[in-house]
Amino acid sequence: MAYSFPEEVLEHVFSFIGSDRDRNAVSLVCKSWYEIERWCRRRVFVGNCYAVSPAAVVRRFPDVRSVELKGKPHFADFNLVPEGWGGYVSPWITTLARAYPWLEEIRLKRMVVTDESLELIARSFKNFKVLVLSSCEGFSTDGLAAVAANCRNLRELDLRESEVEDMSGHWLSHFPDSYTSLVSLNISCLGSEVSFSALERLVSRCPDLRSLRLNRTVPLDRLANLLRRAPQLAELGTGVYSAELRSDDFSNLVGALAGCRELRSLSGFWDVVPAYLPAVYPLCSGLTSLNLSYATIQSSELTKLISQCHSLQRLWVLDYIEDSGLEALAACCKDLRELRVFPSEPFNREGNVSLTEQGLVSVSEGCSKLQSVLYFCRQMSNAALLTIARNRPNMTRFRLCIIEPRCPDYITHEPLDTGFGAIVQHCKDLQRLSLSGLLTDRVFEYIGTYAKKLEMLSVAFAGDSDLGLHHVLSGCDSLRKLEIRDCPFGDKALLANAAKLETMRSLWMSSCSVSFGACKLLGQKMPRLNVEVIDERGHPDSRPESCPVEKLYIYRTVAGPRFDMPDFVWTMDEDSALRPS
């Protein structure tokens, strides 16, 4: 065609387009754009590893440098997904190893990773740079040793929150002496000691090291040595922050910390002893991120620290901070964007700290940039939620967990429908919402009506009837992920909104009222959904069709049913016969 751009020009233009959504849009313009785009896409994100087969990915995108995959549904974090459900990365690694010799980055979340896969990664990709294993499991330090030994260009090794079988700390010593390219290391989830001398030597010879998150076994008295070898650090996760430090050890630590002038992010602080906290005071004014969610210290100590952090943008902290500490936060940290308050004693019915809805209200008043909240507390009121909503219409992520299920407004004893209704009404850009407390179908009506930008919704112990689910599925235009537990939602709403499910990534429902018969029907009618029934009571045929299933996981896919399921998972499909593993 005389009037089309040369490919090279288009390719050059496309190289400025990074976001997946934009890339996908580009590829839909016409066949030649599709072709050009697929050859120059370098990064692929698969939000559900079962939505597409690895073969299909490599067939479409022949030259990818970065792959990100997610496996288990989010509720797996809370033990709702039984062991063995799936999320195996092995078939992906095998395929990627064959197709992308120049692959540089692999990021996995909630997947089962084996040592064999790690060894294959270590062997297959000569220019491998980034390995992020977030909330993964199934591998041991032997696999890490293979990566350390073979990946000469490795920049980033991040094991955040993964469950690693700890054979020993010797794996770290497998980084050869010639290896100097480490930029980011996160081993905070590991249980066993790594060799401190190997760690020190590693840190010494890697001048580009910017992020170092140690594990709990690194004692405080070794920290100074490490920091002196890496004054360029921007992010530090300490090891255990307690010891019996002699005064010169302590001043050594103070000096070493002060020498790290680029430090912007601190975390770790296990078993923190308040007496040693002042060592970090000189850094406070520059800190933008502070994770104190393991620091079991009282409000006054926390407040002293936080009040000096005038540049703070992100704070993760235990509820020991109490309302008073949050008031100080509101007064001192005007740049705060994200706040997470975790429960120190989540399984005590009684509260142990003076943290109430008031703390969150204070922060919502004082911190005008606050947009992301995760807050565990024991009481809430509609009035407080309304205040928060009015204060912070710029809120984009709001996750509230009132610890007692079905807890009403503690002042009026009403459900919290209007409070959450205010949140969705005022916060027009809300992307993520987690509900808790006593809630009727009404809250879902509000959500369906107002939450037009909502992408992810988490619901527990809420609602009265199918109408609740129907409101959400029919009203939330941007919904991608919906996860529900212990709600009286059943067949009607699900079947009436079957088509909606193809516009979403996934739906999880556990301890609800969806019958086996409805699951079968859905599976029959919707070939591009995998409708997985998860039931540990045995084959669903052994119970009446009207019997609700334990758990249900529905996701859209172009890969068809999977074949790696354990014996308590069944995919409902077109044959209306069960497809056992």
Partner: protein, 215 residues
């Protein structure tokens, strides 16, 4: 057939026989009508009975016998002993690794007679003697634990030598592992030693069989 229309009118029920009216019948009254109280019927006291010793979920929401469903080991992260309060699984939604925040780390040295070096384990990471010994079996590949629950024997498969699990308690006394409830053991144990039974004088098979089962 209903589903082809589903794109335009998602209310169409895939179930033949039901209609749009059915769904709108369920609709709440006009906005402003007070419905608030009806929700409180399902009071939380029924759902989460925190005084009951039975571990399980109350499925008032659906009428199926799901209460009998197997509850995973980490019931909301609470320790396995039934003395823990009844909790819904996975509630409150706190990730597993966070639950260990409140636990103090209890690392103790573990020595095995004849092994070239000692190891350390975090006793707080386990809920029972069985779990601890299984983990130690992995750490020290030189022995295997034969049916600890019944036989309570720890042997080196290479030469059949038997080991006795002992520990030093707060008072400095060397005790045989397994006599006291697990929690008490964690509290008082300072270090562990697997003693070759040939060296153990005054402790014989009779003492082993007198061990209480893991609590």
């Amino acid at each position: 057939m209903g589903l082809e229309k589903a794109k335009e009118s998602p209310e169409v029920d895939a179930n033949p026989g039901s209609s749009l009216e059915e769904i709108t019948e369920l609709r709440l009254g006009l906005p402003g009508e007070n419905r608030g109280k009806s929700g409180t019927k399902r009071g939380f006291s029924k759902t989460v009975d925190l005084d009951a010793s039975a571990v399980g979920r109350d499925d008032e929401a659906n009428n199926s016998p799901v209460g009998g469903a197997r509850v995973k080991d980490e019931v909301s992260g609470a320790a396995k002993p039934p003395a823990a309060k009844t909790q819904a699984v996975g509630w409150p939604p706190v990730k597993a690794f966070r639950k260990s925040v409140m636990k103090s780390c209890k690392y103790v040295k573990v020595a095995v007679d004849g092994a070239p070096y000692l190891r350390k384990v975090d006793l707080e990471a386990y809920d029972s003697y069985q779990q601890l010994l299984a983990a130690l079996e992995k750490l020290f590949s030189c022995f295997s634990i034969c049916n600890y629950a019944s036989e309570r024997k720890i042997v080196d498969p290479a030469n059949g030598a038997e080991f006795l699990p002992t520990y030093e308690d707060k008072d400095g006394d060397w005790m045989l592992v397994g006599d006291v409830p697990w929690k008490m053991f964690v509290e008082s144990c300072k270090r562990l030693r697997f003693m070759k039974s040939s060296e153990a004088t005054g402790l014989g098979p009779t003492t082993q069989s007198a061990c209480t089962s893991s609590s």
